[in-house]
């Protein structure tokens, strides 16, 4: 006991001591040491997949650390569930909203902590009254009796915040709380944060919006590839320090650009639009083109419509509008099957949900999209299939000792290579890659980037999306910036600055806020 408590700053309420978290494919957090101070806003930044959310889930009891300890008020603690963490005064607003859409706002706020009157059951009136109090503090303009499913996404986020406030937490973790809020709502949230701070609550604030962090933060911690790479007082630093710590001085291993000829236009999308189910457009009249041998990077923040754009191109959404052309000829086919045959291939963002069939073998996953290549009438010629599998495994240097093993037995990077291999085996003319480097380790990333270069060199037109600035700068021949569904700018790689790209990516979002407020 005494060993744990010493040399701890009195302001520190919670400390993570050498915490690591390993999932089956990947190390998400590597030996992190983090201190949270009471009465302050502790800011956490890092790129997508840097491990911020994992780290917070460990604190909130959602995930358990593989190694290391959590020390709360000088005592080591172990949370086996979020309820236990809540009992210790730790509340969390999750990035993905965790609301029951079939219940009212009040019922959501008091879920698992219902106010009861003994045998007479839940005291609905009392719950509604209290919930209304929290909502009023947030200036939300929502009645506590509304059903959550009837609320737009921004107001749902406010309900989530009200729920976290109702916990009377000593530590309140907010994972991108402003991603769906309008400018006016953000102001109110900041006011509430300041109130909570004054009451001595330790707030953990995660966001990608650097200007917000600089305004609201007191202490800042930067994560990169699961490791903490910088800790400072916000008043001592500037945004350039943050970017530097996020990206790191040891530049990632991007394959060198090989000089090759860029050919004729291979792919053009004209006026692609997709309506969002909640209203508005997820993809708003996007027109762009890619030439053979060219890599077009599509940069944008979360929710900018990158994945949706790719899905439209692949024919995933029947109600999407717009035209696509391959080698100048219009693709009239509306369904994915025939678009793949015309030479389009997609590497989806969510490998587990859309890329792989986990129960099948590595081999079956690889040939899933290209099986017809090996079919004579209706018989799959096994020898031809085996030969092709062997070739692609070698070609992409996939570490697969036995292709008949289940695909889930591989690491994340190798799984991603299988998804890429599956797409390449259809002999695409245009390759769409949605966040191809997401959730894979550094070595595999380098392999993926090298493969992209090589494919472009051999004349393939590649579109890839990313929210990683450094990646888009290093890999692209041209950079298209999407923002709130709109194509706001297309830059040539030469002579564009990171600042210009960031500024462009925020454009569409500010417009929306103006409308809302």
């Amino acid at each position: 006991m005494t060993a744990t408590g010493i040399e701890q700053h009195p302001e520190v309420i919670l400390r993570l001591d050498d915490v690591s978290k390993v999932y089956s494919g990947i190390v998400a957090v590597k030996r992190a040491n983090l201190e949270l101070r009471r009465g302050a806003v502790n800011v956490l930044v890092g790129e997508n997949g840097a491990g911020k959310s994992t780290l917070m889930k460990i604190i909130a009891g959602v995930e358990r650390p593989t190694l290391g300890r959590i020390i709360l008020d000088g005592e080591p603690v172990f949370f086996s569930s979020p309820a236990e963490a809540q009992a210790h005064g730790i509340g969390m607003i999750f990035q993905e909203l965790n609301l029951f859409s079939n219940m009212s706002v009040a019922e959501n706020i008091f879920a698992t902590r219902e106010i009861t009157r003994g045998l007479r059951g839940i005291d609905h009136a009392e719950q509604v009254a209290k919930a209304d109090g929290f909502l009023k503090r947030l200036d939300a303009g929502i009645s506590a009796e509304t059903m959550v499913e009837d609320l737009p996404i921004g107001q749902q986020q406010l309900v989530e915040i009200a729920k976290a406030m109702s916990l009377n937490a000593r530590i309140l973790i907010m994972d991108e709380p402003t991603s769906a809020l309008s400018a006016a709502e953000v102001e109110i949230l900041f006011k509430v944060i300041n109130e909570l701070k004054a009451q001595g609550v330790a707030i953990v604030y995660i966001s990608h919006r650097l200007e917000e962090l600089m305004r609201i933060g007191d202490y800042i911690t930067v994560l990169r590839d699961g490791q903490i790479t910088g800790q400072a007082m916000v008043k001592d630093i500037d945004t350039r320090w943050i970017v530097r710590s996020m990206i790191g001085s040891d530049a990632k291993d991007f394959a060198r650009a090989v000089d090759h000829n860029i050919g004729e236009e291979a792919f053009r999308a004209e006026g692609i639009s997709l309506a969002r189910r909640t209203g508005g457009l997820a993809v708003d009249d996007v027109t762009l083109s890619v030439r053979a041998g060219e890599i077009l990077g599509i940069y944008g923040l979360m929710g900018a419509g990158r994945s949706e754009f790719f899905e439209c191109v692949m024919g995933r959404h029947r109600h999407a509008t717009g035209k696509i052309f391959i080698n100048g000829r219009e693709v009239r086919e509306r369904d994915t099957t025939r678009r793949i045959r015309r030479g389009l291939a997609l590497i989806p963002e969510d490998r587990q949900r859309e890329g792989l069939v986990p129960v099948l073998s590595i081999a079956s996953n690889l040939t899933l999209a290209s099986l017809r290549r090996f079919v004579r009438i209706f018989h799959v010629v096994e020898s031809a299939e085996k030969r092709a599998i062997k070739a692609i495994i070698q070609d992409l240097s996939i570490k697969a000792p036995n292709p008949d093993f289940e695909v889930t037995s591989m690491s994340g990077g190798n799984q991603q290579k299988v998804v890429i291999g599956k797409a390449l085996m259809t002999y695409p003319k245009v390759l769409l890659m949605d966040e191809p480097s997401r959730g894979i380790d550094v070595g595999a990333k380098a392999d993926v980037f090298r493969t992209m270069r090589r494919l472009a060199g051999s004349g393939l037109a590649i579109l890839f999306s990313t929210s990683d600035l450094e990646e888009v700068m290093a890999l692209s021949d041209r950079i298209a910036v999407l923002s709130n569904g709109k194509l706001v700018a297309v830059f040539d790689r030469h002579g564009v600055t990171e600042e210009a790209i960031v500024a462009a990516s925020a454009k569409g979002h500010t417009q929306i806020r103006d409308h809302a407020s």
């Binding site: 089956s24 859309e354 069939v357 986990p358 079956s364 040939t367 209706f378 799959v380 037995s409």
Partner: protein, 354 residues
């Protein structure tokens, strides 16, 4: 998960993979266990006549279970097969006995081959309806096939007003004789239905292994979204499996009414449950993506031998139900345990590989 396996690696590596092999062969082991058990305790169990009789019983369930296996692998369920058995039997019976009465005063009689083909088409048609409801109209498989279960059964009862079509010998002048061949005929000493089972099982296993549609069935069950994004026509796969299931049910309808030389509208009630049980016993996962035709056939044999053997031992039919239920539950528990063990062994291999 990760934490506790890492500590247990050296201790469980050897006996872990041994146990896994035993678990993988569990259906085989169960089959041998029931055969050995009944050879000792049930009189006349091993006689050739009894073996052939049991095989004929098993074949009926095995047909349905094969169709069911494909359906379950895609992540669906087909509750309507029992009713399709009943309806198809009635269709065959009505065509042999009465032909089709046209309103203008004529009656059309089909010959026996045409009758068999029409009956099979009826099974395929109901399967098509199931498939369309599930893929195009997004009705949950459980509900869609529950609906067709009632409809098909109701139509079977309507066709004869609840009566049995007796004595289906047919008439030589209409070329409707010879229906008994399916149920009572023999080729090389084995019943025709067994030969049909062998042929259909080989075809189904071939489909599963070496045709694109077979691969697609597994892919759709394993991850429908990924299958769709890979260009697989998920709807076509869905319609195929329900039509195949309907086809299998039509075969059973024909075989049963041929064995009895009569068609009764209540034939096939609760057959769907036996088919599901056989598939599950054979290692088909209800969550989709896993299963084999071979496993299902063995599963059908385990269930069939178990119930026939218990009858021969004189165990009450009430106890038989209890025992059957226990066997199914134990099979699924072992299946889950195997899945967990498999995962651990895989993680160990990964850890070993670095």
């Amino acid at each position: 998960m990760t934490a506790d396996t890492s500590t247990a690696i050296p201790a469980t590596r050897s006996n872990g993979s041994w146990l896994l092999t035993v678990m993988k062969l569990r259906t085989f082991i169960a089959l041998f266990a029931v055969i050995i058990f009944f050879s000792i305790f049930a009189p006349n169990f091993t006689s050739t006549a009894n073996m052939i009789l049991m095989s004929k019983h098993v074949a009926l369930n095995a047909f349905l279970a094969m169709g069911m296996t494909f359906v379950i692998i895609t992540g669906g369920i087909d509750l309507s097969v029992g009713s399709i058995v009943g309806l198809c039997g009635m269709v065959a019976g009505a065509l042999i006995l009465n032909g089709v009465v046209l309103p203008i005063g004529y009656t059309i009689y089909f010959n026996i081959y045409e009758i068999v083909i029409i009956t099979v088409l009826v099974g395929l048609f109901i399967g098509l309806i199931n498939g369309l409801l599930i893929t195009k109209l997004n009705v949950a498989p459980f509900i869609a096939t529950l609906g067709t279960l009632y409809i098909a059964r109701g139509m079977a009862l309507l066709s004869s007003d609840g009566q049995t079509f007796p004595n289906l010998v047919g008439r030589p002048e209409f070329a409707t004789t010879g229906f008994e061949f399916l149920g009572a005929g023999r080729i090389l000493g084995l019943p025709v239905s067994i030969w049909m089972l062998v042929v259909l099982a080989l075809i189904a296993a071939y489909i599963a292994r070496s045709t694109p549609i077979g691969r697609h069935i597994f892919a759709v069950g394993g991850n429908e979204r990924a299958a769709r994004m890979s260009g697989i026509r998920v709807d076509v796969v869905g319609i195929f499996v329900y039509m195949f299931s309907g086809f299998c049910a039509a075969i059973v309808g024909l075989v049963i009414s041929s064995e009895l030389m009569a068609a009764h509208p209540a034939t096939g009630e609760s057959f769907e449950l036996n088919a599901i049980a056989a598939a599950v016993l054979g290692g088909t996962s209800m969550s989709g993506g896993r299963g084999t035709i071979g496993g299902t056939i063995i599963g059908a044999f385990v269930i069939g031998i178990l119930s026939d053997g218990l009858v021969m031992m004189g165990v009450s039919s009430f106890w038989q139900m209890v025992i059957k239920g226990l066997v199914i539950i134990i099979a699924v528990i072992v299946d889950q345990a195997q899945r967990r063990l498999q995962q651990r062994v895989t993680l160990m291999q990964m850890a070993k590989a670095g």
